[in-house]
């Protein structure tokens, strides 16, 4: 568990100079200064001291990203560096310099701010495990150097092989897409005519699924053959990897992830249930189901577009294509529902599973390091999901409850995205986890119900289901959260504030000394709209719980919606007027901001767009100028593992995971490539 927080304290009048002197000594040497020896804290990832508003009402921000609970870290801080804390905070207002130790600790605890939103690009990783993996990587690399020493001249001789990297069977892939589109048209037509289009729709979908399976399997076989052919004259990748495996000593370390995951995801599950029942309480079943299906599919389609490729402003239409099959499935399910609800549910699971399979197939054909038996697992999962849907309908008697309480399709999507993102993420979501999860869910239902689940839920919640008023309230709350999207955005004509070149120099002076960089900014929230600060708070909260604590670490491989270069970043609302943004990122500031401005435009717009003088991220040049104007150079910046980018950390972990089990030729080749650098 990571704790990400800041300690914000006002600096006493006239004390800025003295405080800066102390901080300068700390920055001079993080390991041997007389105040705080950051290097001695084994759980500390990043820390910084920044003085904001130096010339008006200065305040000191102490940023921390640590493993474990906050209390333990504060205890350690007080135990090892009480004098240093005194030296710093004696220059701050209200610090009990002469008080007892617990008073001083109380001062820190009182000034402590938890961020409304934070991101961690290395979720679940402790400082110790990150360092251990890096050490393991360099040991393995040395061993590999010894194994291939003298191979360079020969390697230069060989012509590089042509490995099929693109989907090998464009016809089959095209067929799958066409069939999806045909299904949609069929469903639309069915609304006005009879059964024939329904059959044709089902047929098209079946074709799509089969084509995807065949295409991916052929591609995989072709790749394996190409590798075996290409490496016939050199050492086999598998043999090399076996050698490395045998010589690697992996220090056992356990990272506890399950408890944290369950806690984080429970927020989403709660929201899902509330939304679903809000709909169910307001309309009769069929209309409720229609709404849910529509909303769910829009959401899922959006999700798919994220998985398949982030929509880019430069006219990349590929993601949009995914709406076609997604909409088709949504429509098909609703149509069949009116004819036979149970079948509809089974179909729903099967179709969604099929869609997931299609993505998996695509991922398989693009990516090389997947399991040889991946296709069969996916197919098995597909059948299982369909069966589960059917079975659930039978035991509960309610298609609605079955859909709500056990959305295997949703799980299928997560599975699909996990496979797709395995390219950048070492987190493998094992197949058995889904089987067991599904089994437990289903078993639980069976235990509790001899009767329809609807009745069971009524009796489990000991009071009768609340009337429509409550559900209207719930809906209203959700709508209020969404209202933020309607708050006026910054106007692109806004001219960003002019920054003095001296300030720019002061900022850049501390940058690019290492691959890691630090950004500390204070953003003034605009006051033109009364609800702005409140909505920003709500938006940050929603974003934090629905995405940053769950989807980002567990589905998107700890990337910030695809941006892999952030270690720790936090947004802290200081008051209604100001928020802090503190980030520890990789590579250069320019590239960091380019990523912001071109890949996660919407979210950045919603948060940063609330800032005074923000010229809209759509004009990147101006936005950068604006972002620079909010920045303040840090006085102290400590990082536990300089030189490692977030991608390196994930790469090192993938190497460790790879070393723990045997691999076939293709997997070995992919793993060996990881020793040459992160796979692009």
């Amino acid at each position: 568990v990571h704790s990400v927080f800041t300690i914000v304290a006002d600096v006493s009048v006239g004390q800025v100079g003295a405080l800066e002197d102390v901080l300068r000594q700390i920055e001079w040497d993080h390991g041997r200064n007389p105040h705080i020896q950051f290097r001695r804290f084994p759980t500390l990832h990043f820390a910084s001291f920044v003085i904001f508003d130096r010339d008006t009402a200065p305040f000191l921000v102490f940023e921390n990203s640590v493993d474990g609970p906050i209390a333990a870290y504060l205890d350690e801080l007080m135990a090892t560096s009480a004098a240093g804390i005194d030296a710093i905070y004696q220059h701050c207002a209200d610090y009990p310099l002469t008080g007892a130790p617990h008073d001083r600790r109380a001062f820190l605890a009182c000034k402590l701010r938890k961020p409304q939103l934070y991101h961690c690009g290395t979720a679940y990783r402790t400082v110790a495990s990150i360092k251990a993996d890096a050490a393991l990587h360099s040991r393995v690399a040395q061993r590999l150097d010894a194994l291939v020493s003298g191979a360079l001249p020969m390697q230069l001789e060989t012509t590089p092989p042509v490995l099929p990297s693109a989907p090998e069977h464009p016809v089959l892939h095209a067929l799958a897409v066409l069939a999806g589109a045909a299904a949609m048209i069929g469903v639309l037509v069915w609304k006005f005519w009879s059964t024939l289009p329904r059959l044709s729709a089902a047929l098209s979908i079946a074709i799509a699924v089969v084509a995807a399976i065949v295409a991916s399997d052929r591609t995989r076989i072709a790749r394996l053959a190409a590798i075996v052919g290409a490496t016939a004259d050199v050492t086999s990748p598998r043999w090399l990897w076996e050698q490395l495996r045998q010589s690697a000593q992996i220090e056992p370390h356990r990272e506890r992830r399950l408890g944290e995951r369950v806690r984080n995801w429970s927020v989403i599950v709660a929201l899902w249930v509330v939304t679903a029942f809000a709909f169910a309480g307001l309309w009769d079943r069929h209309w409720a189901l229609l709404t849910i299906v529509t909303v769910a599919f829009t959401f899922k389609a959006y999700w798919l577009s994220m998985i398949v490729g982030w929509p880019t402003p430069d006219g990349n239409w590929r993601p949009v294509l995914w709406f076609v099959p997604a909409a088709a499935f949504g429509g098909a399910i609703f149509c069949v529902l009116r004819w036979h609800p149970g079948l509809s549910l089974a179909l729903s699971e099967f179709l969604l599973g099929g869609l997931a399979l299609f993505i998996v197939a695509r991922a398989l054909s693009v990516h090389s390091a997947t399991d040889a038996s991946g296709n069969w697992r996916v197919l098995a999962f597909l059948v299982l999901a369909a069966a589960a849907g059917w079975w659930f309908f039978h035991i509960t008697g309610s298609a609605l409850v079955a859909t709500l309480m056990f959305p295997p399709a949703f799980v299928a999507l997560i599975f699909a995205s996990a496979v797709r993102l395995r390219q950048t993420s070492p987190y493998r979501v094992p197949f058995w986890a889904f089987v067991i999860g599904g089994g437990v869910g289903a078993g639980g239902f069976w235990l509790f119900t001899g009767r329809p689940a609807w009745v069971w839920i009524r009796s489990a919640v000991s009071f009768p289901l609340p009337g429509p008023g409550v559900w209207w309230f719930a809906l209203f709350t959700l709508a209020a959260l969404l209202y933020l999207w309607l708050v006026p955005l910054p106007m692109p004509t806004t001219k960003p504030p002019v920054i003095s070149r001296a300030k720019l120099r002061a900022l850049s002076r501390r940058e690019d000394i290492d691959v890691q960089n630090h950004m500390s900014a204070l953003v003034l929230v605009r006051t033109d709209h009364r609800a702005r600060a409140l909505l920003l708070r709500a938006f940050l909260w929603t974003l934090n719980h629905i995405f940053f604590r769950t989807v980002l670490p567990d589905v998107l491989g700890s990337t910030l919606f695809g941006i892999p270069t952030v270690h720790f970043a936090q947004w802290v609302l200081l008051d209604e007027r100001r928020f802090l943004f503190l980030s520890n990122y990789d590579l250069t500031w320019t590239v960091y901001l380019d990523d912001f401005g071109s890949r996660i435009t919407t979210g950045i717009q919603k948060i940063w767009g609330q800032g005074e003088g923000n010229p809209s991220v759509t004009n990147l040049t101006r936005f950068k100028q604006y972002a620079r104007s909010t920045m303040v150079p840090h006085q102290v910046w400590y990082r536990a593992y300089p030189g490692l980018t977030s991608e390196h950390i994930h790469n090192n972990e993938a190497i460790r995971v790879g070393l723990q089990s045997s691999a076939d030729e293709e997997q070995s080749l992919a793993l060996l490539r990881r020793l040459a650098g992160v796979e692009g």
Binding site: L152, Q155, L156, E157, P160, T235, D512, P564, T590, G643
Partner: protein
């Protein structure tokens, strides 16, 4: 929506469109202004003789334009530094903000800039023979002649009554007739250039991936994002920047013997062929400039690294891949042709060719690296900061550009079944001088000479 303005070729200096390959001799004269009054008069008279892009577009190379009263093949171009501008005209603080910050600060202006350009240790600006804060330069006169023997005479005439007593350091390029069209390491250089829209080249190659908007380099035209950067503006001359461009000039010394000795030793010393192949891998092309990307049969420069994602052909860290990643960066949109980080390069070699590439001699040799761009931060500095000198480029660990980067770092050569690592590369290229210039349009040049717009 307005129509894009037609390029005013006759107001643009000719270096934008051509490296003047038909003129074998070249000399670059960084000058120091002593008497701005005389220099202004000199600039006014030189404005009539400066080579314009019009000549490149509308005349053939064979025609000789008489200049300076001479009828030998001869081209002239002029650029100024910020300190030069300050001496020649009145620049208010408001005007100053319209100039690019790197131009105002100079190439050695901040520690951060020296860091991202790799100008540290032996390349530290404190050791430079010209440019930077140590030997400030005001004006750069570039002289090109068909016959290198004429250079001295031409310079003598050109600098007559120029008001600039001091040539900070005369920089004479190696005659093109002696270079065999290769830079000193032995590779064909400068083959990959952006092709400017609106030029005859662009009409010839309408499908090229190198087609780039003129506004990426010259002020007053549409750039890759469909904006029109206006460049520097003055309180008394609003369109001062129009048809001008920023020029990067660096003197880069090459350790040719060091390079070839190193690659030779790295492959065991026995096989010169293997040594040459390692050199290919470091550069990213073969000696004759054909690419190492093994796929397809396209033109030598119309390839894309997306065809070689793992670097089996051209290593991820190879020089040409770092200098221009073309589709090897994660997240770069496919088919992105905006070419937002390109440079027009106008480099020439200096110093005699080495006799034997493995025997060190005392001769100093290298490259006069000249490059044109409209935004130092987005183009020249971006390339250095994010690609060439970036230790985490494309997921590599702790490497820099193997050819020009600040060194004692490894170089990874991807291959089957596993990569090999060439450890501890020395630095083969050191900066010996350099400065950022502004190369104005002809009207702006006359304005510098005191003529009112």
């Amino acid at each position: 929506m307005s129509l894009a303005p037609l390029p005013e070729w006759n107001d643009m200096q000719g270096l934008v469109l051509s490296a003047y390959p038909h003129l074998a001799g070249a000399a670059y004269l960084p000058l120091h202004i002593d008497d701005p009054q005389i220099t202004r008069a000199w600039l006014t008279s030189m404005a009539d003789h400066v080579t314009t892009a019009f000549e490149r577009v509308h005349r053939s190379d064979i025609q000789v334009t008489p200049r300076l009263g001479l009828t030998v093949g001869l081209n002239l171009n002029i650029a100024v530094t910020y300190s030069g501008l300050r001496k020649l005209i009145d620049v208010t603080p408001v005007d100053e903000d319209t100039f690019a910050a790197p131009f105002v600060e100079g190439i050695a202006g901040t520690l951060h800039r020296s860091r991202i350009l790799g100008d540290i240790a032996a390349s530290d600006p404190a050791r430079w023979t010209w440019g930077g804060w140590r030997n400030a330069v005001d004006v750069l006169l570039m002289v090109f002649t068909k016959n290198p023997a004429h250079l001295e005479e031409v310079i003598g005439i050109a600098l007559h009554e120029c008001g600039m007593s001091r040539i900070v350091q005369p920089l004479v390029a190696l005659s093109l007739e002696l270079t065999e069209q290769k830079e000193h390491f032995g590779f064909v250089d400068g083959g990959s250039q952006p092709i400017l829209r609106g030029t005859p080249d662009a009409e010839r190659l309408p499908e090229s991936m190198h087609l780039t908007e003129l506004g990426e380099f010259v002020f007053g035209y549409v750039d890759g994002e469909q904006h029109v950067p206006r460049g520097p503006r003055l309180h008394d001359y609003e369109t001062f920047g129009t048809n001008g461009t920023y020029l990067v000039f660096r003197q880069l010394e090459q350790d040719v013997a060091g390079f070839w000795t190193f690659v030779n030793n790295a492959v065991g010393g026995a096989d010169p062929d293997a040594a040459e192949r390692l050199a290919w891998k470091i550069i990213g092309r073969r000696i004759d400039a054909t690419p190492l990307v093994p796929y397809g049969s396209r033109d030598d420069n119309e390839f894309d690294f997306a065809d070689d994602p793992h670097g089996y052909g051209c290593p991820i860290g190879a020089h040409i891949r770092r200098a221009h990643p073309r589709g090897s960066l994660p997240g770069s949109p496919p088919g992105d042709r905006s070419n937002r980080h390109r440079l027009i390069r106008r480099a020439r070699s200096y110093g005699q060719k080495i006799k034997d590439v493995r025997t060190p001699d005392d001769e100093s040799r290298g490259l006069f690296f000249l490059a044109l761009n409209s935004d130092f931060e987005r183009q020249f500095e971006f390339i250095n900061q994010n690609w060439l000198n970036n230790p985490g480029f494309c997921g590599l660990e702790n490497e820099r550009d193997p050819l020009v980067g600040e060194q004692h770092r490894p170089f990874t050569v991807p291959g089957l079944s596993a990569r090999t690592v060439v450890p501890d590369l020395p630095r083969f290229v050191e900066a010996r001088g350099g400065e950022y210039f502004f190369m104005p349009g002809i009207r702006a040049l006359r304005f510098l000479g005191g003529q009112k717009p």
